[in-house]
């Protein structure tokens, strides 16, 4: 295969990078010096208008410094490719030359914010293997250049690795679009986001405010009757506020979903996925199959009704785990999900798996505590004569208990010789599975209570996050611990 290389001589980034570097430096300065700036502003405000404004002066100084240092930084930044290594040379006072062998490069991601979009350039994020924080950023490259660089690195990288032949041939293949979000599903996703949590938070906040106001009012006995009269008024007010709040929070999530998932596309290449999405901040995340350790999908109650899931694929990352590296695809139906699963782990042999439920103490334990606390709380409130609180406490206790019961009912796990599977959820559904050969360590944890009942939690660690199989018998946990570690150790499958 011909290896064309347009990167063998040092080159600079796109001139747009100049703008971005200056902008970023300016931002950095501000974020580092904001206390000083704040003081400057405050003290400037106190002194009467004599002499030049200190605040404008500092501002101009900062702008100047960042502009000059940014410009120099831009002209001092070179990158090129030499002997299957990406070399980056930079620095004003501390000159540095970084050499990154292609094999060390884990992922190359593109990012486009508004400025970058307007000028048709992309930012490059290169992540390398290694346990120390190792991420490399380029501010702006023309799209063709960035694509060329990525293609070149990825194709030559796979050539120098085992199984090179199939990989490098197929990398050239065009990408296949396996999923694209439609406008209606964008709306659907936005509307079915979990608003419940924020509604409860605000409701609680409002109730607290109402109570404190009431408490303050109740200090004087005479207010009691007039307070009773306004309670209905307050309830109406609260109802109106809640209604507005719901409208606002729904609207907010619709907008958020629109911005992040606009024109979302999941592309399939031979050995990985590529996710493109975003309205203003165009994001492109690429993940090689080998790197994907863990796959999970879930739907809340509303989404269950509308029959769609949100899928999450976690890839191994040398940087501390963050959701940024996860590929999250909303609005998928069951067919899409099994399609993606088949791409990734075709031999998981999922059919005919027998799911086992977790121990009943998984809900009996928290419920015992809930009942105990509720009884104590009720007695206390009764003693102090606060009857509304009793009602609210019982309601909350009941809701929590139902939650835990549902959670227990839904939680089940299954295992075969290829993978471990888990189902869960409360009102909705959630599922995950991990192939045995992706597991990197196992843990058994026991609380004192679990020890008395010979129960245990099994924790499964992968390079991209951990999952828990809770409240199973200790014997079973030990068995899984032995079995899976045996599977990991005897597996000859490629790990990552």
């Amino acid at each position: 295969m011909e290896r064309r290389n347009n990167f063998d001589s040092p080159r600079k980034q796109s001139p747009i990078a100049l703008l971005l570097i200056v902008y970023n430096r300016f931002k950095q300065f501000i974020s580092r010096l904001w206390p000083i700036i704040l003081i400057a502003i405050v003290s400037g405000g106190n002194s009467t208008a004599s002499g030049p404004d200190k605040y404008t002066l500092t501002f101009i100084a900062i702008a100047l410094i960042s502009a000059i240092s940014g410009i120099i930084a831009y002209f001092r930044y070179f990158f090129w490719i030499e002997d299957d290594q990406l070399i980056i040379k930079k620095g004003i006072f501390n000159k540095s030359e970084t050499q990154i062998p292609f094999d060390r490069i884990q992922t190359i991601d593109f990012e486009q914010n508004l400025i970058q979009q307007a000028f048709g350039v992309v930012g490059l994020k290169i992540e390398t293997a290694g346990s120390q924080k190792s991420e490399l950023k380029m501010q702006a490259l023309e799209i063709d250049v960035a694509n060329g660089l990525r293609e070149f690195i990825l194709s030559n990288k796979s050539q120098s690795m085992e199984g090179a032949l199939t990989d490098s041939v197929l990398v050239e293949e065009k990408e296949e679009e396996i999923y694209a979000i439609s406008f209606p599903s964008l709306i659907k996703i936005g509307l079915t986001e979990n608003h419940l949590r924020s509604v409860f938070a605000i409701l609680f906040g409002l109730y607290w405010i109402y109570e404190t106001v009431k408490d303050a009012g109740l200090d004087a006995d005479g207010y009691r009757d007039s307070m009773e009269g306004t309670i209905i008024g307050n309830i109406i007010l609260i109802a109106i506020l809640v209604f507005f709040f719901i409208v606002i929070s729904v609207g907010f999530s619709v907008v958020r979903v629109f911005l992040t998932y606009f024109e979302l596309k999941l592309l399939r290449r031979n050995n990985g996925f590529k996710l493109v999405s975003g309205l203003f901040n165009k994001k492109e995340i690429a993940a090689v199959d080998k790197k994907i350790q863990l796959i999970s999908w879930k739907q809340n109650a509303l989404q269950k009704l509308l029959k769609f899931h949100t899928l999450q694929m976690n890839q191994a990352s040398s940087v501390q785990l963050s959701t940024k590296k996860a590929i999250i695809v909303p609005g998928l139906d069951s067919n899409d999900i099994s399609k993606i699963k088949n791409y990734l782990f075709p031999d998981r042999a999922e059919d005919g798996i027998e799911y086992l439920s977790v121990d009943r103490y998984y809900f009996l334990r928290p419920i015992t505590y809930t009942i105990l606390l509720s009884v104590i709380g009720c007695i206390a409130f009764y003693y102090f004569g606060q009857y509304t609180q009793i009602f609210i406490l019982l309601l909350a206790g009941l809701f929590y208990s139902i939650n835990r019961y549902k959670k227990y009912k839904k939680a089940s796990y299954g295992i075969n010789e290829k993978a471990i599977f888990m189902k869960g959820g409360v009102f909705g559904d959630s599922q995950w599975f991990i192939m045995h050969h992706k597991i990197q360590s196992l843990e058994i944890n026991q609380t004192p209570f679990q020890r008395r009942k010979s129960l245990a939690d099994l924790i499964i660690h992968t390079a991209s996050g951990s999952k828990v199989v809770p409240y199973i018998s200790l014997a079973k946990a030990n068995y899984l611990y032995d079995y899976i570690s045996y599977k990991v150790e005897s597996s000859k499958l490629e790990w990552m």
Partner: protein, 181 residues
């Protein structure tokens, strides 16, 4: 009824980790723990005493309110007692075991914990030694895995030479594992 379909190996033939002989940590590590905990409490008490004498009226007033006088000592004594008890009782539960393909470590007096890391999945390992550990010629072995730090493992209270040996062993295992199979 056995839900685990496993054609390659019979259930009772699986390598069992339960019957493994776990190796306890060095006794002098318990001494180290006792010393460091004592230093911690001493520093805290010195801090309280110093602030009592230099803090002026407000702190004395705060410290001599009835709640503080009754409850703080109770809580403090409880915490101190617990910290020493968990060292004395917890120490017995800290132990590690090596097999041909993995390393295991268990710990916990009240909350029990057991973790297994196959050598295959270890990224690298490291031996560290603090100033107090140096006096007792002990060291810690840190084992790092890929991704986050959730599955990283630290085994304290090893003889320095032993820790170095373990590290050497692990490094070799990481290197040769592929060829073995």
């Amino acid at each position: 009824m056995n839900p685990f379909q496993n054609p390659q190996i019979e259930v009772n033939q699986l390598p069992e980790s339960e019957s493994l002989q776990f190796i306890g940590l060095e006794k002098s590590y318990r001494t180290i723990l006792l010393v460091t905990t004592s230093i911690f409490w001493l520093v805290l008490f010195l801090g309280i005493i110093v602030s009592f004498f230099t803090g002026g009226a407000s702190i004395i007033a705060l410290l001599s309110t009835s709640i503080v006088i009754i409850f703080i000592p109770i809580i403090l004594i409880g915490l101190i007692g617990f910290s020493y008890l968990s060292i004395l009782f917890g120490f017995r539960h800290k132990a590690y075991a090596l097999r041909l393909h993995d390393i295991q470590y268990k710990s916990g007096w009240i909350w029990r914990k057991k973790i297994i890391i196959p050598f295959k999945r270890i990224q690298h390992s490291e031996v560290t030694q603090g100033p107090i550990e140096r006096r007792f010629s002990l060291a810690k072995l840190h084992i790092y895995t890929a991704g986050g730090s959730a599955s990283d493992l630290t085994i304290p209270g090893l003889k320095y030479a032993e820790a170095e040996q373990l590290k050497y062993l692990i490094t070799n295992k990481i290197g040769t594992n592929g060829e073995e199979e």
